[in-house]
Symmetry: C2
Subunit: 189 residues, 2 copies
């Protein structure tokens, strides 16, 4: 197990017109990212949503796989959901980690712009290997987290670049790639 926690943020999020909105929960964001997180030994996957009815929906989806028909049909899903936690705000995720570990996590996210606290994947991977500190990596939905929110974070990871001009990975793919870079085996060496 690594010292890494991850969270998926649904508010405050920009829409395409740069207005601040709450995004809807996506079934595949729950499943896909939970499976990636469990595969890479992430401590906990927080689904962060301010709307009670949306958290309730997530609970029902998880219950299907944890105790309902899905738990016997596909037990792998059940295991993937054991590290999943539903919270209202990202501050609640921080509080939960602080309670668990005794100290607040460093907060990381990713952005296309370069900041004074921008960090490379290589540096972040090394930090995760060498320190006992905990880290919370937050992923945005929609058109990303607000600038006000991002300014409160400790590290900004570089975006993932592909080969060309097009650079629109879905959050599920971006999360998988980031976990592979930060926690995966050193396949290149």
């Amino acid at each position: 197990m690594s010292g890494l926690y991850i969270g998926l943020v649904h508010y405050p999020i920009y829409n395409k017109h740069r207005e601040i909105i709450t995004t809807a929960l996506t079934n595949y964001d729950i499943h896909d990212i939970a499976r990636s997180a469990t595969t890479y030994g992430v401590q906990k996957y927080f689904i962060i949503h301010p709307v009670p009815a949306q958290r309730e929906l997530a609970t029902e989806i998880m219950a299907h796989w944890q105790t309902g028909f899905g738990s016997t049909y596909n037990p792998d899903r059940k295991d993937a959901f054991q590290g999943l936690s539903l919270v209202e705000t990202w501050q609640d995720a921080v509080a939960s980690i602080t309670e668990e570990t005794g100290s607040p996590p460093k907060i990381i996210t990713t952005d296309a712009r370069v900041y004074p606290n921008t960090i490379t994947y290589r540096e972040m991977r090394q930090k995760l290997q060498e320190t006992k500190e905990s880290y919370l990596l937050l992923f945005g939905t929609g058109y990303g987290m607000t600038e006000e929110m991002m300014q409160q974070f400790d590290y900004i990871l570089e975006p993932i670049y592909g080969a060309g001009r097009y650079n629109h990975l879905c959050v599920r793919a971006a999360a998988a790639i980031m976990l592979d870079r930060l926690l995966g085996e050193a396949w290149w060496s």
Copy 2:
């Protein structure tokens, strides 16, 4: 652009009882993998399905984003679908590449078992950088492609290992990670 093509196989596939089945098309397999493929400069993404009604469904989903309401609402999706091709069998994908490039591609897939032609990500990445040959990387759905099919392929990539015992990435996450390892920037150096 790389010399890499990818394909998502829906038949012949094992179910959990090791019976040979045709899997249903998943909307998110179309979207997520198309966006990852376009980001990493994959030549073409083949969706391989033997059932005409399922290929028709994929065509309709794509049309929504390519010419329908979605094309103006979210033009990024339109670009992602430009490299997408619907075919009936994996042999059709091979024939299409052969027609396009003048010679048949080498075929690659991934499997948990070790074969005489098992290859590392590092070796495969080097091949893609150094040769002008084309390669077709096939992903299975369900519980994977049949052994008979896999025996006809040129290279078998090692599976992606995480930190622990749990190893159940969804195909969308596995595809994203594999493209990052094979075609992504050398972020570790």
